[in-house]
Symmetry: C2
């Protein structure tokens, strides 16, 4: 049903039916991505939103360092007001995801950070207890399209 | 209240209060991002989701070419089932955003693509009529955190 495709895998079949058979422009731009993309969602408690923004304006450097050490790059969080959502988007450029995630949990500052920020959030994960343990806290959103590079 | 920060702007102030004054690890990883990040949301009609996934498994190459020509890179769309959301995340690496977006609208294949996909979606933008004209179709989600590079 759903495939994640690299550009080279895109077929002109649908297009040629709909449009023409002329050569297709595909300008080459500097390649700026690599790795696996991850999109995760959690709900922010509306009454804690300002506080959430405030602490994220000065994230503890140890927390950022733990992310980098775990090969997480290009990490952003967006807020979607109509559903009080926090949407995290990151790329993982390492080779052992579980090991790297376990490494993050070993970082004391990160565990304290989670205690701080989990309290501002509600999880969509059934039975979730927090970011440090349990079945998860942020929930993955399914990738349905990717344009790489 | 809210600032978008580069790594160099992160202050250790909060951290040092909470944790320690030891040197902070910040492993250098290959820099893989540049440009402005954009996160946009639209609702997918549940009964059209399978069709939406299917056409996105074979996006018309002209549409991808128009995006690249407009300096849009690293573009993914994720689906979040609990609210029937499509979450687009991209980076813009050009220097004239409005000009590049106008350029996309001049691409005939893209206009036909929007006619196809708009019908599978509902917009959060008040008064929205479609991707081609009007006050917008996808709505921007506010950036509240960024870890670059």
């Amino acid at each position: 049903m759903f495939r994640t495709l690299s550009l080279s895998a895109f077929s002109p079949r649908i297009f040629t039916r709909a449009m023409s058979t002329a050569p297709l422009p595909m300008p080459q731009l500097p390649r700026t991505d690599e790795g696996k993309r991850i999109c995760q969602i959690v709900k922010v408690k509306p009454e804690r939103l300002d506080e959430y923004k405030k602490v994220h304006a000065e994230v503890w450097p140890e927390v950022l360092g733990a992310l980098r050490k775990a090969h997480v790059v290009d990490y952003s969080i967006h807020y979607f007001a109509p559903h009080n959502l926090l949407i995290a988007h990151m790329r993982y450029i390492g080779s052992d995801f579980q090991k790297d995630m376990d490494g993050i949990k070993e970082n004391e500052a990160t565990r304290k950070w989670w205690q701080l920020t989990d309290g501002m959030q509600e999880s969509f994960v059934p039975g979730a207890t927090g970011s440090e343990s349990g079945p998860g806290w942020w929930v993955d959103a399914e990738e349905v399209f990717r344009l790489e590079g």
